[in-house]
């Protein structure tokens, strides 16, 4: 006899992971495109982030979102897989996102919120929360140079935006 839902073993395999619902939620959000599980693993997603502000809005940036098996009790981790010229993203694509630290994470935080936070970070390069101080310094001291390079970098590396007609 199949155990009724209220008899399920806590932490057992049948406990629903909210990941599918969250995936739906993310797909409904227009800030991302092509979000899908990576290698058929629902706990690893990839997709394209579509920044709104120049200079990054010339292209789409591929991100990867990794969930813990204990999701949503343990924060997920978002990284960028497309190189970006941004003071808050380190060369390996890691991002400093306080939202996904243990102390700030709340189990009710949704994946879409994590991605929204990430997009906000990309959209507003600020000298705070800096992972690449050299870029931050450049941004502070020679902003035109920084924006120029960022734009060129974006053109060179970023993927074409699926929502815009190709160049």
């Amino acid at each position: 006899m199949q155990p009724p839902p209220w008899r399920r073993v806590p932490g057992g395999p049948s406990h629903p992971l909210p990941v599918p619902q969250e995936l739906e939620e993310v797909r409904r959000w227009e800030g991302t495109r092509d979000v899908r599980p990576l290698d058929r693993n629902v706990l690893r997603w990839e997709g394209l982030l579509l920044p709104n502000n120049p200079p990054y809005n010339a292209g789409a940036f591929r991100f990867e979102l990794t969930f813990s098996p204990h999701h949503p009790l343990v924060p997920p981790c978002a990284t960028l897989r497309t190189p970006i010229y941004h003071p808050s993203v380190d060369p390996e694509g890691r991002v400093c996102q306080p939202l996904t630290t243990h102390e700030h994470w709340a189990p009710t935080t949704r994946a879409v919120q994590v991605l929204q936070d990430l997009l906000l970070l990309l959209d507003s390069p600020a000298p705070q929360r800096v992972l690449r101080p050299d870029l931050a310094r450049e941004l502070q001291e020679h902003p035109e140079e920084f924006w120029h390079r960022a734009r060129e970098h974006t053109q060179l590396h970023a993927e074409p935006r699926p929502d815009l007609p190709g160049p």
Binding site: P4, P5, W6, R8, P10, G11, H15, P16, L17, P18, Q21, E22, R62, T66, S68, H70, P72, L73, V74, P75, C77, T79, L80, R81, T82, P83, Y85, P87, P91, E92, G93, R94, C96, T101, H102, E103, H104, W105, A106, P107, T108, T109, P127, Q128, R129, V130, L131, R132, P133, D134, R137, E138, L139, Q140, E141, R149, E152, H153, L156, H157
Partner: protein
């Protein structure tokens, strides 16, 4: 009462069942009338069929076959097993119950006789259910049983109500059953002793909507005054119906039950009632072996023609009648004349008793006060008052709400049988006498199985009753599930079709018994029976054990069913609530909440707590909602969390609180890690752990007896190894940060310099100061590694190893210098880990070419040697004359993946700049923080 208890399980189930169905409402309405005479309608059944033991036996043949007769269990515990409620009892009763609901009038069709008997039963159950809603359950049922006792008093009261409709008087209720055998209820001896005349009166079918009473009864007791008095009392109880019942109208209907008034009329009977009230069970008669009512039956079958008038009348007035109103008016008008002081006392006493039955913890004096001072002579008013003011004075001591509650009983009883009689491996063979008794009992339990089969099975199972009976029950249950027509067409019994056997099967460990057993053509008619005393102790124990187990199983099944219904109902109504954590949909009962009312499913809370307690999460179980600052109340945690997690949680919380409160006084024994608080100025730490009891130096953690007059350094110098260890420990300590709040050691493996402990405290990794947020750090942009020119704040990002390495080297150098000074160059020993060549720091791969556009002429990645490794050949099997020996599965040859795949995870790290427009697949995956 025993009967009532026995049926209880069945009933609950039944009421759940019908809750779903649409006939629920009907039954509720029916209940209006029902309650008033619940006793009446059950009693006649009892009276007519006193000797029959197996209720289901003749009602329904195929059920009968299977039904294990619970009778002999009854005396012991009131509500022991009704043969497992979910199996068939539930079905039967459910059927009866719903039928009763649909057609309120008792059918006169002789063919329906059995059904209506059943129906009566079912209704009886319903009463029980309803009245058992409150703590007053026992009382009311007792009342019901008691009712026939004080004989004539009921008459007048009935008469009064009857006056309104002087219809056909004599109403023999049960007589419509054509076969006397149909009614199967056991008789409680009290009922059996009643004079027949009174029984008839009792049998009035109040639940059918007529409180009409046989006229003949009234004649004897029809003296005017007594009638008036009766009326008054009859009116009285109307004001204090059972508040345990849910709705007002029903309560009123209840109030008109004649039983209520009756005790007051006669103080003696009142006393008797009082004495009887807590009584656990009425003695049951000895089980009758063959279900055929003996000649001794006090109430032979009623003449069949009597059914006619009843049926006719029923049809005339199918609706619920409210004769109570009339009687009430009468009564109230009579009150002033008759209000005697003694009666008032009785009334008060009764009120107190009734109130106490509902509020067992209320002080008696308080009720009295309420009644006298506030002059509330209405039980309803009293109960309402108590409900609204729950801070009424309470009785001292623990109040057992319901002494005969099955919950309490089962708790006590579980302690008795320590042996698991269902575990075959632990059972020892029993002797011959026990075997015979067990076989006899089984033969009584399973009348459709041949004695050879029973004995064979019993023998196989070492003569143990409980386990054998369980195996039989399981087999029968299985048979029931398999057979297509379980609902009980009794013709099936006659046909020897494919379902006329059971597959007896017993499997436990490596013991496996199987046998196909055919049902007997006719039920066994004779068997030996035992009463409790004559049973041998081991058999008796097993019997009790089995009953206990079956009851538990039934309870559990009922519980599950109830939950399921609950959930189904929620689902049907679209009332499922979404857990805010896992998006699952749950019934409200499956949810828990934080102090602020955010709802989460229990499982999420369990996992959350697990994460917090055993993982690295916070020990504080705050609400999972990010914006909510509340935590989960302890009551919720205790309700939801499994014990081990809860214990661990408390433990950890206490520990952290202690550590946070007195971090510098908390000392841990270096040997057993036992924590204790030690005043700051005390050096010697004597471990309080009784298994350790070592005395150590608080500072250097050396054993105190070696310390004696030496300082820590001297002690360390005494032993070269110790000295080195102490220095090396210092070096290690240089790498560890201690939380300023709770003292937990922290090491940074990656990330920025803002460290946060699990207790929530934050500190700067560089200067070890307590900080809050990022303000502590330099916010100026600067080149990596370079000191800031604008401020002297700590930088957020530094390579941790460099700073620590510096400190460690300093300590090491210092110690080495010291040693060199002391011992001279020759005896110098290295301190710290053996020198190893510092790992050459691999320059971070600079992916992003700077300046961006021009630099395309980087060295290309050397082409990967695309040499396919040779295919391994399948292993050669020894052949004999070209016939392979030992043919087994030959493993498929391993075909390595083609090397020209884009991502090669085994790719050695190449220190070459990658092609700039290569997608970002470089480097290892970022380390995850789980």
């Amino acid at each position: 009462m025993a009967e009532r208890g026995g049926n209880e399980e069945v009933i609950n189930l039944n009421s759940f069942r019908s809750h779903r169905g649409k006939d629920w409402v009907d039954r509720r309405n029916e209940g209006l009338i029902t309650i008033s005479d619940s006793s009446d309608e059950e009693l006649p059944l009892l009276l007519v069929m006193p000797e029959k033991q197996q209720p289901e036996e003749d009602d329904d043949d195929d059920v009968v076959i299977l039904a294990e007769t619970p009778k002999h269990q009854q005396p012991l515990r009131a509500n022991v097993i009704r043969p497992a409620a979910p199996w068939q009892g539930a079905n039967t009763v459910g059927e009866g119950g719903s039928k009763g609901a649909v057609e309120p009038s008792r059918s006169t069709d002789p063919q329906d006789g059995q059904d209506s008997a059943l129906l009566g039963q079912g209704d009886g159950y319903n009463h029980v259910v309803e009245s058992s809603a409150g703590p007053s359950r026992d009382e009311s049922v007792n009342l019901a049983l008691q009712q026939p006792g004080p004989s004539e008093l009921n008459g007048p009261s009935f008469e009064l109500t009857d006056n309104q409709e002087p219809g056909p008087s004599l109403v023999p209720p049960v007589k419509m059953s054509p076969q006397p055998l149909v009614n199967t209820e056991t008789v409680s001896p009290e009922n059996a002793d009643l004079p027949p005349q009174q029984e008839e009166k009792v049998e009035a079918q109040g639940w059918q909507g007529e409180n009409v009473e046989p006229g003949q009864n009234l004649e004897g007791a029809a003296a005017a005054t007594s009638t008036e008095q009766e009326a008054q009392e009859n009116g009285q109880p109307e004001h204090r119906p059972f508040p345990a019942l849910e709705d007002e109208p029903r309560a009123v209907a209840n109030g008109c039950a004649p039983q209520q008034g009756q005790p007051e009329a006669d103080p003696g009977s009142l006393r008797a009632y009082g004495e009887n009230a807590p009584g656990p069970a009425f003695p049951r008669p000895e089980p009758q072996q063959d279900g055929i009512p003996g000649p001794a039956s006090p109430q032979p079958a009623h003449p069949p023609e009597e059914t006619g008038p009843q049926g006719g009348r029923d049809n005339e007035q199918p609706g619920p009648a409210f004769p109570a109103q009339g009687s009430q008016e009468l009564g109230s008008s009579n009150v002033p004349e008759q209000g005697a002081a003694g009666q008032e006392q009785d009334l008060t006493a009764l009120l107190i008793r009734e109130t106490e039955a509902r509020f067992p913890d209320v002080k008696k004096e308080y009720i009295e006060e309420l009644i006298i001072i506030k002059n509330c002579c209405d039980l309803n008013v009293l109960c309402n008052f108590l409900l609204e003011n729950p801070d009424y004075p309470k009785k001292e001591g623990r109040v057992v709400l319901n002494p005969s509650s099955s919950l309490l009983a089962s708790q006590d009883e579980t302690k008795v049988p320590k042996v698991d009689y269902f575990d075959f491996s632990k059972l020892a063979p029993l002797d011959q006498r026990c075997f015979i008794q067990a076989a006899d009992l089984l033969m009584a339990d399973f009348k459709m199985l041949s004695s050879q089969d029973i004995k064979w099975a019993l023998h196989e199972l070492k003569g143990h009753y409980a386990i054998t009976r369980k195996a039989f029950s399981d087999a029968i249950k299985k048979w029931q599930e398999l057979s297509p027509e379980t609902s009980g067409k009794r013709k099936r019994r006659k046909e020897m079709n494919q379902y006329s056997y059971i597959d007896f099967k017993f499997e436990q460990g490596d013991v496996k018994i199987e046998k196909r057993m055919f049902f007997l053509e006719n039920k066994r008619r004779h068997w030996r029976s035992y009463d409790k005393l004559s049973l041998l102790p081991p058999v008796l124990l097993e019997q009790e054990f089995y009953e206990q187990k079956v009851k538990e199983m039934a309870e559990h099944a009922d519980f599950l069913l109830a939950l399921q219904m609950n959930e189904e109902q929620y689902q049907k109504d679209g009332q499922m609530i979404e857990c805010r954590c896992c998006y699952g949909e749950f019934a409200f009962e499956e949810l828990t909440q934080c102090a602020d009312g955010h709802l989460f499913c229990k499982e999420c809370l369990i996992k959350y707590a697990q994460e917090a307690v055993f993982g690295s999460g916070k020990s504080e179980l705050s609400c999972m909602e990010g914006s909510c600052t509340c935590s989960f109340p302890t009551s919720e945690l205790e309700k939801v969390l499994p014990e081990n997690i809860l214990c661990k949680y408390y433990e950890r919380k206490a520990e952290e609180e202690v550590a946070a409160a007195c971090a510098d006084e908390l000392v841990r024994c270096p040997f057993c890690n036992f924590p204790a608080l030690l005043d700051n100025d005390v050096k010697r730490f004597s471990c309080p752990n009784p298994r350790c009891r070592k005395e150590t130096c608080r500072k250097c953690q050396g054993l105190w007896k070696e310390h004696m007059n030496l300082t820590c350094e001297q002690l360390a110098e005494k032993d070269d190894i110790k000295y080195r260890t102490s220095i090396e420990e210092k070096m290690t300590a240089a790498r560890i940060r201690k939380c300023h709040k709770c003292g937990t050691g922290l090491i940074k493996s990656e990330g920025c310099n803002r460290m946060s402990c699990r207790c929530g405290a934050q500190m700067c990794y560089l200067c070890r100061a307590a900080i809050n947020g990022y303000d502590h750090f330099c916010q100026h942009p600067r080149s990596p590694g370079a000191p800031c020119q604008d401020c002297a704040k700590c930088s957020l990002w530094t390579d941790p190893t460099e700073d620590d390495e510096k400190i460690i080297q300093e300590i090491q150098k210092e110690a080495e210098e010291e040693q060199r000074k002391k011992n001279g160059e020759n005896s110098f020993k290295r301190i710290g880990p053996p020198v190893e060549k510092p790992v050459e720091k691999i320059q971070r791969i600079e992916v992003i070419p700077r300046p961006v556009p021009q630099n395309f002429h980087q060295p290309r990645m050397p082409p990967y040697p695309f040499v396919h490794p040779p295919f391994p050949l399948p292993p050669v099997r020894p052949l004999y004359n070209n016939i392979p020996l030992n043919i087994g599965p030959i493993p498929a040859p391993y075909v390595p993946p083609l090397p020209n795949m884009r991502v090669n995870f085994d790719f050695p790290q190449i220190n070459v700049q990658l092609e700039p427009n290569l997608p970002m697949h470089f480097g290892p995956q970022p380390r995850h923080r789980f």
